[in-house]
């Protein structure tokens, strides 16, 4: 026996070996089974939680539900940006063997998908990350939607749902202020990648739109809200087996944003702009609320939500009058004569006696050249009041020389020029208020130009030269001037999510004396209400004793030395003067300030600017219940009705200007309805 037999004492050696080894084999098999049992215990008892999580991850699928975007309302609650339902068809790569071609073939039987669209979809789906849905079709009809929905359970990765899409009911009227939302671009994604506060899944959702301009951009995160999710049970092929509504996480809607704008005033402002290019800003003088901020021409923001086609965008971008540019905030123009009240204030503050007269002979020789007044024949002897009323250039040439550029700049800055205001939206350009320090800074490389030449001051005095301002600054200037002593900051965002934003009235007083402000305002009253004022005819509101005060302005865009006739109508549009007008009303109790810039509107603020300012002002005044009550209160008049002249015009209105009479007097100031005054005739 070669191996000693321990357990068995049998004669058969082979049997003995077999028994020992069979015992061993049994032990091996038993050990193997125990090892399996141990492994089972490890997986099912120790690591069970982890695998249960993985199993649930397999079984359940959370589909992102984008939140409804917050509404944007005007000051009275009129929706300026809201959401409308959108039936949408989406495709998701749920599993690795998702067949794009076959799915699109199936879908093409249900909804129209043409060749180019198909090619683009294949590219989009290939590029999209796994599990991120790609929109195949938006704005399906109800029939298409139900057709797809019936078939969707058989088509892996296909979902049809009702999403929401942004809509701007007023189209272009608020396009520059509110901006628009559009598809998330690759650049947005790149920027958001490193931002942990951004919800990447939401950004990739085909129904999600990101704010691109204006309020939509500035308050994007507030308007966005938080996404929810629908819980669905899916199989390995990604088909939804069952929905589990109890597991849904509802989305949190975005915050509601209320603006200070008034839809009626804003709409009227865009309307009166007609084909012209420019901007109108209306401001509430008492608190700085912006009631209208229009840039014209405008564009339909709804087009951007869907995605603009190449030619469409090109047409907008290349149009000479630049509809995409926000001229109210970023269009900088020389203020021209609208700057004269500010220069007047600077002069009064510097100690100039307003009654000291300057003789205007139409031209004035200074510094080796002849300075002309816009009135060729001259205004004769002028004090400051008359100089503002007549917009006499000679007076302001000489007065500005007396006080120097730094005094003018100080006053201009106090009035709001040369700065941007925190109105909550980006895109303001602060323009330029020149002074000696600026001259030095701006010409670092050219020491010879660093000194302020006396010859630059007269241009400055009439709002020309290096000075540039925007429409918002002009409105702020007018409001500050009209508001006696209180400085004002403009406010655009009234409330976000119900939280009132700080008012624009909480700023320090103006560094001007009450007396001086009243004096300059008097000059502006005369512009509009003195029959010889530069804008008398165009400034008649026709609202009884509610009167407007204003100031005209013309800004040259080129030197006229070599041009024979400045007033020529045959001049190309882009060579015409800019036409400006600022106004406030009622002049005895200032409430509203208006600034109008008509780009290349032609000579004389009264021609293009003033009639438009008047029309907008009328809407603002008629919407104010107190002003309206004042207009409509019974006049202390004789028993018989007042005699009207045979041609039908009312006293105080120029016969050649279209005017609309005040609404019929009624004792109760009912809901302010806006009459539709006719658009003023095309300016010369």
């Amino acid at each position: 026996m070669s191996e000693p037999s321990i357990f068995f004492f049998e004669v058969n050696e082979r049997q003995g070996v077999f028994h020992r080894r069979a015992f061993l084999m049994g032990g091996l098999a038993g050990g193997g089974l125990l090892a399996l049992g141990g492994r089972l215990a490890q997986l099912q008892l120790v690591e069970a939680r982890r695998y249960q999580k993985l199993s649930a991850g397999n079984q359940f699928n959370y589909r992102l539900m984008p939140p409804p975007r917050g509404l944007i309302l005007d000051r009275n609650g009129v929706a300026l940006a809201s959401n409308r339902p959108n039936f949408r068809l989406m495709v998701t790569k749920e599993s690795k063997d998702f067949d794009v071609e076959a799915t699109l073939d199936d879908l093409a039987l249900l909804v129209p998908i043409d060749g180019t669209r198909r090619a683009r979809l294949i590219k989009d789906i290939a590029r999209a990350p796994r599990k991120a849905p790609v929109a195949v079709m938006e704005d399906m009809t109800w029939e298409e939607f139900s057709r797809v929905n019936i078939r969707a359970p058989e088509l892996p990765g296909v979902t049809a749902d009702m999403g929401e899409v942004r809509v701007y009911p007023f189209g272009g009227a608020f396009a520059h202020v509110i901006g628009y939302v559009a598809k998330v671009s690759d650049r947005d994604l790149e920027k958001a990648k490193s931002d942990p506060t951004q919800d990447q899944d939401l950004l990739h959702h085909p129904g999600f739109r990101i704010g691109k301009q204006g309020v939509e951009k500035a308050l994007d995160r507030e308007l966005r809200g938080r996404p929810g999710a629908t819980k669905a049970e899916v199989d390995a092929q990604g088909r939804v087996v069952r929905l589990d509504p109890e597991g849904d996480i509802p989305p949190t809607p975005g915050k509601e944003v209320r603006l200070t704008l008034d839809a009626d005033i804003q709409n009227r402002a865009l309307e009166v702009m007609g084909d012209e290019s420019g901007a109108i800003v209306v401001m509430d003088i008492r608190n700085g609320d912006l009631l209208a901020m229009v840039s014209a021409p405008s564009f339909d923001a709804n087009r951007f939500v869907k995605g603009l086609s190449g030619p469409e965008y090109k047409a907008l971008a290349e149009y000479e009058r630049k509809p995409l540019l926000d001229k109210a905030l970023s269009g900088n123009f020389p203020p021209g004569s609208t700057f004269k009240p500010t220069v007047g204030l600077a002069a009064l503050t510097a100690g100039i006696d307003p009654e000291v007269r300057v003789n205007c002979g139409g031209s004035w020789y200074y510094g080796g050249r002849t300075w002309r007044c816009w009135e060729k024949g001259g205004h004769g002897s002028q004090n400051m009041h008359e100089a503002i009323k007549n917009s006499c250039d000679i007076y302001f040439y000489q007065t500005s020389l007396k006080i120097g550029p730094d005094a003018i700049a100080t006053a201009a800055r106090a009035m709001g020029f040369g700065e941007t205001f925190d109105i909550g939206i980006p895109g303001q350009k602060k323009g330029l208020v020149p002074d000696r320090a600026w001259k030095k800074r701006a010409n670092k490389k050219n020491p010879a130009n660093q000194i302020w030449f006396p010859g630059e001051t007269p241009s400055y005095g009439i709002g020309q030269g290096a000075l540039s301002v925007n429409a918002l600054q002009l409105a702020v200037m007018t409001a500050r001037l009209a508001n006696s002593k209180k400085a004002l900051n403009p406010r655009l965002i009234k409330s976000v999510g119900g939280v009132e934003q700080p008012s624009g009235a909480a700023v320090p007083d103006l560094p001007f004396s009450q007396e001086h402000l009243t004096y300059v305002r008097g000059g502006m009253e005369a512009v509009a209400n003195d029959v010889r004022g530069t804008a008398y005819r165009q400034s008649q509101l026709g609202l009884g004793d509610v009167k407007m005060a204003g100031k005209t302005g013309t800004a040259q865009v080129r030197s006229y030395d070599k041009v024979a006739n400045r007033k020529s109508t045959s001049v190309a549009w882009r060579l015409k003067d800019h036409n400006l007008f600022v106004a406030f009303a009622p002049y005895d109790d200032p409430r509203y300030a208006v600034a109008v810039i008509i780009e290349h509107g032609g000579l004389g603020g009264a021609t293009a600017g003033a009639p438009r300012a008047r029309e907008v002002m009328r809407v603002a005044l008629l919407k104010d219940p107190e002003v309206r009550a004042r207009i409509e209160r019974p006049m202390p008049m004789p028993e018989e009705p007042v005699e009207t002249t045979p041609d039908g015009s009312v006293e105080g209105a120029a016969p050649d200007e279209p005017i609309v009479g005040a609404p019929p007097p009624s004792p109760a100031p009912a809901t302010p309805t806006v009459p539709a005054p006719s658009v003023p005739g095309a300016p010369r």
Partner: protein, 385 residues
């Protein structure tokens, strides 16, 4: 055992009724329980339906069960005399497959004879064990330990293994080679040789994996080493199987509620990975019970082998038991992520006729060994000593 009184009479044990009663009915019950559990799982996987798997599974088991009873009554001497012919036929069929076989799923495994398609490699799982048992029956203990005569069993194992591996079907080749080697060890192979052989096999493994295996076979092994490397490719099966197992927990998700199998995340859920379905729906308790049943079956079969009076009976029963145990261990290890994915089903539990047939024929042989445990098997050539 219980009928010892009357059974000592000569010829008494050859009566069919006595043979029938000598069958190990406890083992039969264990097999029925395992197959029944299989049917239950197949019913669940089909979404609570007898079709398409559970009904066929039970029908097959019934037919094979009857066949097993009949085979159990076949005299061990008949098995003995048929051992070499069965092996010979099996080998010829394997050669035929290599020459004219039908390749399905990339491997040449099937032989088509008219309407019948079958895998000759399955025949060899029993054939090799029978032939080896028959050979060792006539071999002395010394020769079985270490002698030139061991070249013959080596060739007996080597030929079919090489033919099957060539198909290529590594899983089946392994299931032919390992039980064959087990028979050699049980017959008394020198311990020194066993150790040398094991060391040699381990040393040969890496070059074998990298130079002999096909790409897909190599990938399976590499994936097994690091399943997370490619969770959507080759690692997918292993990962999903582990998720199914682990998520079952102690008590399981409940009958018919296994999300991994019901929602198709589990691959081959009705065949190779049915154990994962069981684990998911019945948890640790269910799995452990089934493993226990397998353990009982293996233990009982080994006990039958060791009470046989003939060396042929001992070795053949033990060899078949080794085959069965290897099925269970390899499939279990694969499902639990402890072994690479090889096409080895869980016997009696998995859906599929071929393996069930092989296993039931094997248990028929084991039962025959039990029924004929006192039968003297004499070979023409060798002596008993």
């Amino acid at each position: 055992m219980t009928l010892s009184g009357g059974l000592s009479r000569p010829g008494e044990r050859d009566r069919p009724i006595i043979k029938f009663m000598e069958i190990d009915w406890t083992l039969c019950l264990v097999l029925c329980l395992i197959a029944g559990t299989g049917a239950l799982m197949l019913f669940s996987i089909a979404g609570g339906s007898w079709e398409p798997w559970a009904d066929k599974h039970l029908l097959r088991f019934g037919v094979y069960f009857v066949m097993m009873i009949i085979l159990a009554m076949v005299d061990l001497r008949v098995w003995f005399s048929l051992a070499y012919p069965i092996y010979g036929v099996g080998l010829l069929l394997l050669v035929a497959v290599a020459l004219v076989g039908d390749s399905s799923l990339g491997a040449q495994r099937w032989l088509v004879l008219g309407p019948v398609r079958f895998q000759p490699s399955e025949v060899m799982k029993i054939g090799v064990v029978l032939a080896l048992a028959r050979y060792y029956h006539g071999l002395s203990a010394d020769s079985a330990r270490l002698s030139w005569k061991l070249l013959i069993p080596a060739v007996l194992i080597g030929m079919p293994v090489l033919l099957v591996a060539h198909q290529p079907d590594l899983g089946t080749a392994m299931l032919i080679a390992l039980p064959g080697l087990a028979v050699m060890v049980l017959a008394g192979l020198s311990l020194r040789l066993i150790i040398v052989g094991m060391v040699g096999a381990l040393a040969a493994l890496p070059p074998f994996i990298f130079f002999v295996l096909h790409d897909y076979q190599r990938n399976r092994i590499l994936t097994f080493m690091d399943p997370e490397k490619d969770p959507s490719g080759d690692g997918y099966h292993i990962m999903q199987s582990k998720i199914a197992l682990g998520s079952g927990g102690l008590m399981g998700k409940g009958f018919g509620l296994g999300s991994q199998s019901q929602l198709n995340f589990l691959p081959e859920k009705q065949t190779d990975f049915i154990f994962a379905t069981l684990a998911e729906e019945f948890g640790f308790i269910g799995c452990f019970s089934v493993l226990f049943l397998y353990g009982v079956a293996i233990f009982m079969a080994l006990r039958i082998a060791s009470i046989s009076h003939s060396h042929f009976g001992r070795l053949s029963a033990a060899g078949v038991t080794a085959t069965f145990a290897l099925y269970v261990l390899i499939n279990g290890a694969m499902v639990m992520g402890m072994a690479p994915v090889v096409g080895v089903p869980m016997p009696m539990l998995s859906y599929g006729g071929t393996v069930m047939l092989t296993v039931m024929v094997g248990f028929g042989l084991v039962q025959a060994v039990r029924v004929h445990r006192y039968t003297e098997v004499t070979s023409g050539k060798g002596s008993l000593m």
